[in-house]
C-alpha cells in the first residue's frame, strides 16, 4: 500500500534524503552524522548499497541499525556493528588514519564554499544563539576522502557570510584547502530539499548541477543568501522511486515507534 502511495506523492524532505542516499556507493566507508545524514546513509544501505560500511563516531564500525538512532551512540548501533572501538581509537586510527571515504554532515549554517557553522550565531563571547558546537565535524571535514552535506535550504541557513567557521568546506576564498596542504577533496556534494550543488572545478564555489522536480530557479534563489550560480550542465533530479520511498518510510516509521517520543 505504501508503495502505491509512494508513486504518486513525496515531500521535499523525502526527495532530499533520497537524492543524498543515491550519492553513496556500495564500496564506500562512510562516517555518518546524526539526523538527516543517518537517514540517507541507511536508506542507501537498504537499497542500492547493501555493502556500504557505516561508521558512527561512538566507535561502531559496519553497523546495520534496524531503526535510525536518536543519538550517535544508541545501543542499536553497537548491537548491529561488526565491531565497536573506543572513541580515541575511532578518531585516531580510523578517521585520522585516512580509512574513511565519505563523511556525511549536516549543519546549521553554510556558505557558498560549503564551510559550516554549528557553533554560534552572533559573537562567540556573547552569542545570540549558542549552538551545540563542532563535535567530530572539524576533523571529519579534512580527514575523510570527500564530504557530502545534507541541509534544507533557507535564507537563514544558506548565508552570504559565515561569521564562524566550525568545519572547513573549501575555505573562505575557495583556496584554503590547497594552501593548508589538505589532500582530501572536501565537500563534493551539497544535497538540499530543492537541488544538488557541486563545487565549480575552478573556483570551488558550490554550483547547482541538478534541480529537484517541480523546483524553479527563482525558488532556489529565494532560499539562498548568495547569488546562486549554475553548473555548465544542469539536470533534473530523478523522482524518488516507489521502492526508495517505501524503504525510507518503513525505517522512519520503525524509528518513530522505537523512540516513543
Amino acid at each position: 500500500m505504501q508503495a502505491t502511495l509512494a508513486a504518486t506523492a513525496y515531500t521535499s524532505n523525502e526527495m532530499m534524503i533520497v537524492a543524498a542516499a543515491r550519492a553513496l556507493r556500495n564500496e564506500d566507508v562512510c562516517f555518518v552524522g546524526i539526523g538527516a545524514p543517518s537517514a540517507a546513509c541507511n536508506l542507501a544501505r537498504l537499497t542500492h548499497a547493501p555493502g556500504i560500511t557505516l561508521i558512527y563516531e561512538s566507535g561502531t564500525i559496519a553497523t546495520r541499525p534496524n531503526v535510525l538512532p536518536l543519538s550517535i551512540g544508541d545501543g542499536e548501533l553497537c548491537e548491529t556493528a561488526l565491531t565497536t572501538v573506543p572513541v580515541p581509537e575511532m578518531f585516531r586510527y580510523w578517521l585520522q588514519g585516512g580509512r574513511i571515504t565519505v563523511g556525511f554532515l549536516g549543519g546549521a549554517q553554510i556558505d557558498r564554499f560549503a564551510n559550516l557553522n554549528t557553533t554560534v550565531v552572533g559573537d562567540y563571547a556573547k552569542p545570540k544563539v549558542r549552538l551545540p558546537g563542532g563535535g567530530g565535524a572539524p576533523e571529519i571535514a579534512t580527514n575523510c576522502g570527500e564530504i557530502f552535506i545534507i541541509m534544507a535550504q533557507s535564507q537563514r541557513a544558506f548565508m552570504k557570510d559565515l561569521r564562524f567557521v566550525t568545519s572547513m568546506g573549501h575555505g573562505r576564498t575557495g583556496r584554503e584547502r590547497r594552501d593548508l596542504g589538505v589532500k582530501t577533496k572536501g565537500p563534493t556534494r551539497l544535497i538540499t530539499d530543492l537541488c544538488v550543488f557541486e563545487p565549480d572545478p575552478d573556483t570551488a564555489e558550490m554550483t547547482v548541477t541538478s534541480i529537484h522536480p517541480g523546483v524553479t530557479r527563482e525558488r532556489i534563489q529565494e532560499n539562498t543568501g548568495w547569488p546562486v550560480r549554475y553548473g555548465a550542465a544542469v539536470g533534473e533530479t530523478p523522482e524518488p522511486t516507489a521502492d526508495e520511498l517505501a524503504v525510507l518510510r518503513e525505517i522512519q516509521e520503525r524509528t518513530r515507534r522505537a523512540h516513543g517520543g
Binding site: 561512538s58 551545540p132 558546537g133 567530530g136 576533523e139 579534512t142
Partner: protein
C-alpha cells in the same frame, strides 16, 4: 585499591568545590546518579569536562554547580539544544559559565595524553576553522621528523573522573561493555575516581581477554547504583530512554519548569530512585 562505599560517601570524599571533574560516557553508561548526588551535595565552582555534555551537565549547570565547561559537543542528541547550557552562556543564568571548546578528536586525544602521563596531545586537526581563534589552548607543534605542523592541545588531567559501568567484582575490578567511549582514559587520567555500577558480582564473567576491565587499584571508590545511568543506557541491562531525552527539551526550556523538575526528581530523591530503571536483559 577501590573501596566500596555509598554514592553519597564517594561524592563527599572525592569531589570538592572548585575541582575539575570529568563525568564521562559517550551516550552510553552516563553517570547520571553520580551527577545528581553531586547536585544534592551542593558542589560549586566545578570545572566540568566532558566530550558530549548532554542532560547530565545541563542539570549540573542549571543548578549552579559549574563555573567552567570544557567540551566538544553540547546538545541533546537528535533533539536539539541544551537549554540550561544556552541560558548560562547567553544570559549568565544561574551564573556565568566560561567555555573551553574543542573538537571531539582533540578531546579524545587529550584524555589519552592524560592517561599516558604526557603533557599534551597532537592531532592532524583544526585546519581552516575558527575554534583556535577563541580557544588559546589550541596551539600547534612542528613534527621534528617531517616538518608537518600539527595541532596541539593540553592533556586532560581532571581531579576526579566519574563513570558508570555494568559491574564490579568483589575485589573492585570493573568491567565495561558496549560503547566504551573515553571512560577508561578518563579514569586513568584523573587523580581520583568514582565508578558507579549496575551490580557487584563474584565473577565479572569476562567473555574475552580483550574486554575493557579497569583493575581495582586504578579506582578510588565504587558505589553500586542499579539503574544509575538512566536515561542513558547500560548495554545488556536497559535501553536508552529516548522518550526521556525528547521530554527533557520541554522541561529544560524554562527556568521554572526546570527547577520544579530538579526539586521533585533530584533534590528530594536519592540514588535509590534509579533502581526502578535497573534490569538485566534476558
Amino acid at each position: 585499591m577501590a573501596r566500596f562505599v555509598s554514592l553519597a560517601a564517594a561524592v563527599e570524599e572525592c569531589i570538592r568545590d572548585g575541582d575539575t571533574v570529568s563525568f564521562e560516557g559517550f551516550t552510553h553508561l552516563i553517570p547520571f546518579a553520580a551527577g545528581h548526588e553531586t547536585i544534592r551535595q551542593g558542589r560549586k565552582r566545578l570545572t566540568l569536562v566532558r566530550m558530549t555534555p548532554d542532560l547530565i551537565y545541563d542539570q549540573m549547570i542549571g543548578m549552579g554547580c559549574a563555573e567552567k565547561l570544557v567540551f566538544s559537543w553540547g546538545g541533546n542528541p537528535g533533539v536539539g539544544s541544551l537549554h540550561r547550557l544556552r541560558d548560562a552562556v547567553e544570559n549568565g543564568w544561574p551564573g556565568p559559565l566560561a567555555l573551553e571548546e574543542h573538537s571531539h578528536a582533540a578531546m579524545a586525544n587529550a584524555y589519552e595524553a592524560g592517561a599516558a602521563n604526557l603533557p599534551f596531545a597532537i592531532l592532524r586537526g583544526y585546519l581552516g576553522v575558527d575554534l583556535p581563534k577563541v580557544n588559546p589552548n589550541i596551539r600547534s607543534v612542528t613534527c621534528p621528523f617531517t616538518g608537518e605542523v600539527l595541532a596541539a592541545v593540553p592533556a586532560l588531567r581532571p581531579d576526579v573522573g566519574v563513570i558508570h559501568a555494568q559491574r564490579a567484582d568483589r575485589e573492585g575490578n570493573v568491567l565495561l561493555e558496549g560503547i566504551t567511549g573515553v571512560q577508561k582514559e578518563a579514569v586513568l587520567a584523573s587523580k581520583r575516581s568514582i565508578v558507579t555500577v549496575e551490580e557487584v558480582v563474584d565473577d565479572l564473567g569476562v567473555a574475552s581477554p580483550n574486554a575493557v576491565v579497569l583493575p581495582g587499584w586504578t579506582i578510588t571508590c565504587i558505589a553500586a547504583v542499579p539503574g544509575g545511568a538512566h536515561p542513558s543506557y547500560a548495554h545488556g541491562h536497559y535501553p536508552r530512554d529516548n522518550a526521556a531525552y525528547i521530554a527533557w527539551d520541554k522541561i529544560a526550556r524554562e527556568r521554572d519548569t526546570f527547577l520544579a523538575w530538579m526539586k521533585e526528581h533530584v533534590l528530594e530523591r536519592g540514588p535509590d530512585a534509579f533502581a526502578v530503571h535497573a534490569r538485566r536483559a534476558a
